[in-house]
Symmetry: D2
Subunit: 312 residues, 4 copies
């Protein structure tokens, strides 16, 4: 395959350091941390959204999950509810459509009242050379990710403000929101837009009792993400090779961080952007990190050459 032949992949087995970094299991926060609290999670039927819903539900929250596929949502809701004993509601909503969002929030108000916790997690993405992107291809991503997040956030925010109710808002973005990245330009742009929106509202809506924060996940194997970002599976190994902790993330790790950031333990956190990526970003971005490939023997040679240098 292209990745193998291009030599990106130095190793097949997971890097040995992964043993130092085992993922934790189960929720981190105290039992009952979200009792009597309502959480609204977009894209909560699958992947990371499902994991965050599970954790909040385990911690006592009443959850509402919303996305396009009602059947998927309903099945997830039932499974989580059965596991945790707490109610999970499923509401159909295409976040691209402001009227659908408004109707969805009507339903939420009727079912549970306005939420205490909002997680904007719904997204779309696929890899594609930018010269092949049509305007519709561009909008298929940015309409969900940027406009969708804005419509959900502004609609809920407006109603919460009218009701003088505080809330914690969280958005799930990505590690390339700040740096940008080729081959996923619409996603990078839309996620950067989401981050700016959340930082803007953190400053503006604190006075209404609202907090706004962001998680930037690194690579975590979910069907939705990986089937469109790494359809051949070749890229995954390259990523693991450059992640300092030597492994992909697990959905439950994002869920514990999200629960903390949405909880009463984080009432002083607002406008924060938390990267959780095994160190991948700093590893990629630092100019000399490729020198990890230099062997101890080669270092000796190099040190001798450096010491032998005279002048500038």
């Amino acid at each position: 395959s292209w990745i193998h032949s291009s030599g990106v992949l130095p190793q097949a087995a997971p890097p040995p350091q992964a043993r130092f970094f085992p993922p934790a299991e189960g929720p981190m926060l105290p039992t009952g941390s979200f009792t009597n609290r309502v959480a609204f999670i977009t894209g909560g039927g699958t992947g990371l959204g499902r994991a965050m819903t599970t954790t909040l539900s385990q911690l006592g929250a009443t959850c509402i999950i919303a996305s396009r596929k009602l059947d998927v949502l309903k099945q997830t809701a039932e499974e989580i509810s059965r596991q945790t004993g707490n109610k999970v509601h499923a509401v159909q909503c295409d976040v691209k459509d402001p009227e659908a969002v408004s109707r969805c929030v009507d339903q939420v108000e009727a079912m549970t009242g306005l939420p205490d916790v909002v997680i904007n997690n719904a997204a779309g993405n696929f890899v594609c050379p930018s010269e092949r992107l049509t305007p519709n291809g561009w909008k298929s991503i940015t309409d969900i990710v940027l406009n969708g997040t804005a419509f959900v956030t502004l609609e809920l925010g407006r109603r919460l403000i009218q009701n003088q109710k505080g809330a914690s808002f969280l958005a799930i973005t990505t590690i390339y929101a700040e740096s940008g990245s080729g081959f996923v330009a619409p996603s990078a742009s839309a996620k950067a837009g989401v981050e700016a929106l959340y930082k803007s509202l953190a400053a503006e809506w604190g006075r209404y009792g609202h907090r706004f924060n962001i998680i930037q996940p690194g690579p975590i194997r979910t069907k939705g993400a990986f089937s469109r970002l790494d359809p051949t599976g070749a890229f995954e190994k390259a990523m693991i090779g450059r992640i300092p902790t030597g492994r992909l993330g697990m959905p439950g790790e994002i869920a514990n961080l999200a629960a903390y950031m949405s909880s009463e333990f984080a009432t002083w956190m607002s406008g924060a952007v938390v990267r959780l990526d095994g160190g991948e970003y700093v590893s990629m971005a630092g100019e000399f990190n490729e020198l990890r490939r230099v062997t101890p023997e080669q270092w000796k040679t190099m040190e001798a050459m450096i010491r032998g240098t005279k002048g500038s």
Copy 2:
């Protein structure tokens, strides 16, 4: 007025240090720097776009300016052309509309061939508490700023690639693209999206001979910007009070920077984000900068108190 009564305004006259920072006049680059080069500038009929067009035209470029108001464009084109002796074309184009963009680029190809220099400068903005924003209000800004920039950039980029022609792309964003800002959330989000798009393409399309860079202007008095951001004129004085160089910027200063970044002197610049704001951003962002209000006498008192502190 609200600003006066709220005490934001310590001084009426421009800060005395402004005399150290007089704006330069006239183009910086060597005469003829853009001879035989074609520059395409969106929003080139007014404000900063007009200033950049003037400078490029003075330096020898054939310019095309594009926006919605053909009459404004035509008048600007004629005035600049008369001043510089070089051709300036006016093309009507609503950048929100991908078909209009495509037709506009057809016209450009017919008139001048594909451009060597592209400047995405068109934008919309207005101040508004976010709880008053409707979905349409949100889209009225993001459709121009983010989608408009993407449509123009992707359409021109695709055709340039097909023609194996290199080009320099520049986007005009703002100093609050990274930090976000309340009361201009749609603009902050869209501009952040533009920055991520340009950084993404800088990485991806270098192989096709394209460079992508960004200018973040601070406050510069133009009718378009100030009438919608500071309709009462009260905020301007507050801004000047916190700008370290003690004055607003001038359109010609952005134009000289833009010309440099688009020129043969900057062929190694790509993926760069250049802030030109008189120092306003660092002045706002730094937690202790308000201590500029402490007088020398008060410093003496404070130093004595600090020296007298024992332990932690």
Copy 3:
């Protein structure tokens, strides 16, 4: 006082939104999260360091606190130990001095073995116009903050690597590490240096089982910080006025975040920079956030003026 007369202070009482953001009390992580784990905290005798030590000790860690004043350390160690029932060791160490650091780590190895958790929290700071800074004044801060952190981190890291032992490193920096700030330039520079060091090592030392992360606290009243940063107490009120959550932070809030980041729940976090500041940073940095002072009545006027604007 200067702050009052300069009009920075719009309100005397805490902003009303503070009631939405009450600080949580007590540790967040499950009991026993740090049982059989050793934590080394510089500056652990006072302020935030003391709070982090208390939380880790409550969660089962054996702690070692190190700084210059052995009497302060001993008293803190005893008080915490009495409260939690877990051992807290006090070791004298001036982190500026590499030999003192080496001797201190010898003692740690002898007492507890090398640590699983390292928190670099020791620092010095004072407000001062930069033109009054002598080279010694500059070094009095940077030697502690930057060199001290480096010496502690490199010494512990080297020995941990030799022993093939993994560890979590955390550094406490500040919200002005990225933006810089006047009047605390040595601290800003040194803290920025610490952040770069930790991001560098996150990339480089993952292969040895080490993680490196950063917390940037906003303003939290501790004697050590506030007596040298706000000796008159006037600035505190100005800060509260611009913090979206309407209050200062509490040491226990930093402690819970630090415990999470140092725990088994965060093994996939490395190279992360987490701001915990009540939203102060985004509030300061966003160009239009001062518009929070505009009243609803004034917004109506402004909206009418904006709507009346024609053209650019």
Copy 4:
């Protein structure tokens, strides 16, 4: 060699796109831009410092270059002066030593008066695994880069303020100052510190007529840098492979940017950080940029797979 065998190097010849990005030659600014102006450049005897001195001298400045090796400085001074016809002074100065800095500024005052333009360019660096760094190795870099820059800047700044004279300060840092980088941790830390110092002073000393800006160069072949960062020459090819513009930078390109930023055309620029790196940083940092290795044929396959994906 290690780099070849590890497969980092896909190509031997410069990437074909380099032909789109030829470096410009000669100064960009108008003749006489620096006439009657004095420029002080640390490390001006070699590499980038020499190039900046040459350009400023060509543009009319009286230059003073300062570093440790007086013989190198004198030869450079004479060669530049012969070429440009303008005076270049050589002053011995070890920037680590505050007293040497003070004596050096005494000499400057005597020879030319205080400077209008200050460029902090002196630095040291070498690649080294961080676990091999001694405290002295750490300080050998940070003392020059961070303390040296601070001592020069504070000493000149203090005297300029006393004389009520404005000035432009520029610091040369690096693209890994923000991201950090393994194997050059002391340099990353010190350069990050320099950036924070310059942003701090941009905010604080505007009122005295001073501007502070930063250039972050990407890789440019100079003896001083490359002999200690890439002694075998193997890494250079890897870097070129990931630079979107397909080539290293040239000293004259930095010199033209530095001249602009120090000139009367940039009086409104302060607190700015300008990256000039051929796009290397965004190319490294963006998570999916490695997909540049995917061939058009492989894209077809991948697109078919993505389109075939159903659900999340």
